[in-house]
Amino acid sequence: MFETLILILDSTVRLATPLLLAALAGLYSERSGVFDIGLEGKMLGAAFAAGAAAAVTGSAWAGLAAGILVAIALALVHGFACITHRGNQIVSGVAINFLAIGLTALLGQDWFRQGGRTPPLSGDGRFTNIQLPFAEALRDVPVIGGLYSELLSGHNLLVYVAFLAVPVTWWVLFRTRFGLRLRAVGENPAAVDTAGISVTWLRYRAVICTGILCGIAGTYLSVAQSAGFIKDMTAGKGFIALAALIFAKWKPVPVMFACLLFGFLDAAAIRLQGQEIPGIGEVPVQAIQALPYILTVVLLAGFIGRAVPPKAGGVAYVKERT
């Protein structure tokens, strides 16, 4: 029983990692007042770029760099449309999702001719699991040993990066000048403007941060979790991440817990497939899969707390004519 739990928690961590990276990515953009439903597309683009670059160069690090660059490029398209040209942020996000799905499959087939896949990665082409010190030695110690060697140890680098990104994001947001201004511009861009700070440049920097983290998220999918890119491999994770971001009310630490919760639901759904739960009976897997979205809608409806988005979100900044 305990071992089963550890195993579920272990896969929770693995499944939560891409959600966490993408949700934190969205946090930067949305906190600056730029809504982003294109997390999915940026992640997918990055996953493809990372898979392709790692396959060609044989280096996971080259994959990471390519993934980040492509995600930033897509983020800049979003910025160009929404910040510079004051276009509709939702429409732009939809467009980016389409572009990513189409281009990754199209170029994937053209370059590698494996039905949209990138060639399988091995060795240095992947981020492999890292054994923390003494993980082997402690394995047999009851409880703690299992927790340490199974749950904490033995993940790849990007998992640790993702969880490290939580305190870092918190620190950037609440302890740096950039974070202060970022939060301010999402709430009241006019206040930022009158303080002599460029709203445009600030928001561009925010979407670049979004690009970087989406890039890592995508790279995780194709170069760390799997051994190569598969067509449509994000499979809606960008939207679950968006749901997690809203569910966590746009705050970094709650974002982590929301992603862990959603990751856990995913892990449990896999585990529970076809199994009876005593007293409840068989829980349909689909019900568990839909739970993140249902929870988010319930939250949005204001039945459990209230998710108040950044006040200036979704609206392009235009100097008001008094």
């Binding site: 999702n97 199209l106 839909a290 949005l300």
Partner: protein
């Protein structure tokens, strides 16, 4: 004419045209990047879609789907609402159609089943839009986010139903049994004498789609309700001044929008597949956004845009066959670019155009 305004024809004709051309030019660059000849690609694509009867049939079949989902997005646009949930609403619409067909197909002819199926599709689609609509109207929860969530909830719900409840006995396939004759719409070529679309599944739904365009046009421009919808969309302040209830308009408009999206299932389920199966919507709901944007939310524009996307879908399939390097995914890229240029970047060329019109108008306004 005031400064900073374009003539109406430029606003509704020229601007979208320029944006779409820009999208296709960039698409051409992508084709070049793959190392194929864009001009040749266009030739194959257009021939594949329009050069032979079966091609035209498929083009119209796809266009039927796009007309419904495009209309759904457009109606919501008129009220200033962004219904991004066409995907889920259409999926649920399939449930409505299937229930009608499964219940009736063995007992009555198709023309008795059809009105029930239409009602089922529209009701199921509308129902799926109701919760987001209510939450937007009463609680201010953003309809964009809630409809996205409802797309995913719909996907889970339908998989559950198809696997656990509706699957035909003894089959592992997540799909219902195949409908009998009473649950199948006639193909267009069987109704129209002298027309031959080969094996293309274009069916009576195409007529239904054109009829829906007419009804939407009447609704938006010829009824009191449509007037209220447009007023609320153009100016919420003026709507309140005119005594139009924002809550009522939001909910009613979303119901109509969801209903139209649900109607798409008539074409796919009753017209072509003759059974309910998973993921039959496969992105048509999202493409509706591109169709509505390109068609400027006007039924005539939507028909044209839907046919253009139908050409892309059918021609793209031919293209993938003739030029294997250009897979059908190219269509998705073009869709993305159309949404980007005709939607998110719709104002990019406006300053340029304004300046151009300014230069053109200047000599005329200067008295000699």
């Amino acid at each position: 004419m005031r400064a900073g305004q374009l003539p109406r024809w430029a606003d509704y004709g020229l601007m979208p045209a320029i944006n779409v051309v820009a999208a296709f030019l960039v698409s051409g660059l992508v084709v070049l990047l793959i190392g194929e000849n864009p001009v040749e690609a266009v030739r194959i694509l257009v021939w594949g879609a329009l050069g032979w009867n079966e091609g035209i049939g498929f083009t119209l079949f796809y266009a039927t789907n796009f007309i419904f989902t495009g209309l759904a997005v457009a109606v919501a646009f008129h009220a200033g609402l962004f219904n991004i949930g066409g995907e889920g609403q259409a999926y649920l619409g399939g449930l409505g159609v299937a229930l009608a067909c499964l219940a009736l197909d063995r007992f009555v002819p198709w023309w008795v089943t059809l009105p029930v199926a239409v009602a089922g599709a529209a009701a199921a689609g509308a129902l799926w839009a109701l919760v987001p609509a209510y939450l937007q109207a009463k609680r201010g929860s953003h309809v964009v986010i809630t409809t996205i969530m409802f797309n995913f909830i719909a996907a889970s719900l339908m998989v559950y139903l198809l696997v656990n409840v509706m699957a035909k006995t003894g089959s592992m396939q997540p799909e219902t049994r195949t409908f009998e004759a009473g649950g199948r719409l006639p193909l267009l070529q069987t109704i129209l004498p002298g027309v031959d679309f080969g094996s293309a599944p274009v069916n009576l739904s195409f007529v239904l789609a054109l009829l829906s365009c007419l009804l939407v046009w009447v609704l938006i421009w010829r009824t009191r309700l449509g007037y209220e919808i447009r007023t609320f969309g153009a100016s919420p302040g003026a709507a309140v001044y005119a005594g139009i209830s924002p809550v009522r308009i939001t909910i009613v408009t979303m119901l109509i929008s969801g209903g139209l999206a649900g109607m798409m299932a008539i074409n796919e389920i009753m017209g072509s597949q003759h059974r309910l199966l998973i993921e039959f919507v496969s992105g048509y709901g999202f493409v509706g956004i591109a169709v509505a944007l390109m068609g400027r939310a006007h039924p005539v524009g939507i028909i044209l845009a839907a046919i253009l996307f139908g050409i892309l879908y059918q021609g793209g399939a031919e293209l993938a066959f003739e030029m294997p390097a250009i897979t059908r995914d190219m269509i998705v890229v073009i869709q993305g670019l159309v949404i980007l240029f005709a939607g998110a970047l719709e104002h990019m060329f406006r300053p340029l155009l304004l300046r151009l019109f300014g230069i053109l108008a200047a000599p005329a306004s200067k008295p000699a």
